[in-house]
Symmetry: none
Subunit: 245 residues, 2 copies
């Protein structure tokens, strides 16, 4: 198994609005998932779904349309029911963040399904009974109604993160080389000289001015080029011969 | 401050589709966020937005509509630009999961903004330059285009999870009060004026000088008193009448 995400089925049961199917397909594709199952959608994917899919039409076109949830779960080794509420007498419930790593581990054994119910009614008890796990997205208890595609986005986001083992952040913000200790000290000395020359700092009564500046640059961890810019500007400011007439 | 989420502004810049504004409002409310800022939306929220808000009309109705991103950032202590791509020469970049806890810690000091760009073009460089952090949602490199409301959903989801973990924000630590967005902008404007006055910066050929300075101070997150020190010194340097003979 190369990519565990290729073992994940996103199952939408009895979806009412084709636009939500399209938006769910898009959400899946952005996170690298592609296997969409539609259980008795009220309308088959059509124009509105394609519009909302917005470039994920391939996911939509490859969707499997089936009659019952049991059909969609054929061949899976684990099914996770996404639910917006706690339920009595059902499978163990977990936050989606906790449910996902376990699910991905099972992906070594076979297909895993994440199952989403109808926009209004959610999943029926018969449907959740077919699933071995229940997962919730932690939501505002006064208003817990995520849009269907938004819930798919969150679940797929967690799946992607868990499958990547994130690792290093995109460190490509080509930071310049950090200035050395001496370079930072040179800058602070330069600032002190400028403060004295301008009359802003009285060397007989220095107060805590330079320590404050030092603390600021300690936090900033300036780069070499930034030190050069600031020192260039200070030199220009301290010598009025450079000033444009 | 009881709930750190009450310090979070979701800022949508130059949004094209009112439906996305409504869907973003819904995404926010499901995660317990309520403060929506709209920067020059192509259409003001209207029927389609309300339909997509679906019960989050209160968030939509309370949205602040402003002209520029700077208006939306007035009074914030940290702004996080959500971006779908790596960028050169800009603020530090992190995955949104990593950026959120730091942002929430700053919420003890004042408002925090998460900024989302236009559906097609994203954020401009001028816009990201106004933000102190960049954050990305890890996406499929072949198809990284999350729907705007889906991106808002993921960011708000991370904010909710992190706020639940954090619980009460840390008591104010011994650091001074952070400078506001306007105060840092005032400092950068002052540096620019000094650089021009001294002949160090040619306004006809500004190059990337001021963006570099901006990035330095974005990293440093200066305190109010530090801004006051630097501006006092710049004023003294720029007016030779203050200079000791």
């Amino acid at each position: 198994m190369n990519d565990p995400l290729s073992r994940i089925r996103i199952v939408l049961s009895r979806t009412s609005h084709p636009g939500n199917i399209g938006a769910a397909a898009r959400a899946m594709k952005t996170m690298g998932l592609s296997r969409l199952y539609l259980v008795s959608p009220r309308h088959l994917p059509e124009e509105q779904a394609t519009a909302m899919a917005s470039g994920a039409d391939d996911v939509l076109a490859a969707a499997r349309v089936v009659e019952t949830l049991e059909d969609a779960l054929q061949g899976t080794v684990l099914a996770v029911a996404m639910t917006a509420r706690r339920r009595d007498l059902s499978a163990p419930i977990a936050w989606v963040r906790e449910a996902v790593p376990e699910a991905l581990e099972s992906a070594g054994q076979g297909d895993i399904a994440f199952v989403f119910g109808n926009e209004t009614a959610g999943l029926s008890n018969q449907e959740t009974d077919l699933c071995q796990r229940l997962a919730m997205i932690p939501a505002n208890s006064d208003y817990s109604s995520l849009n269907l595609a938004a819930a798919v986005q969150v679940a797929c986001y967690e799946l992607r993160l868990a499958s990547l083992e994130i690792g290093a952040p995109p460190a490509v913000h080509e930071a310049g080389s950090p200035a050395s200790h001496e370079e930072v000290e040179g800058l602070i000395g330069h600032i002190e000289a400028a403060a004295i020359k301008s009359g802003f700092l009285d060397p007989a009564q220095p107060k805590r001015l330079i320590p404050r500046v030092r603390r600021l640059f300690a936090r900033a961890q300036p780069e070499k080029e930034e030190v050069a810019i600031l020192r260039g500007m200070l030199s220009a400011l301290m010598d009025t011969r450079y000033w444009p007439k």
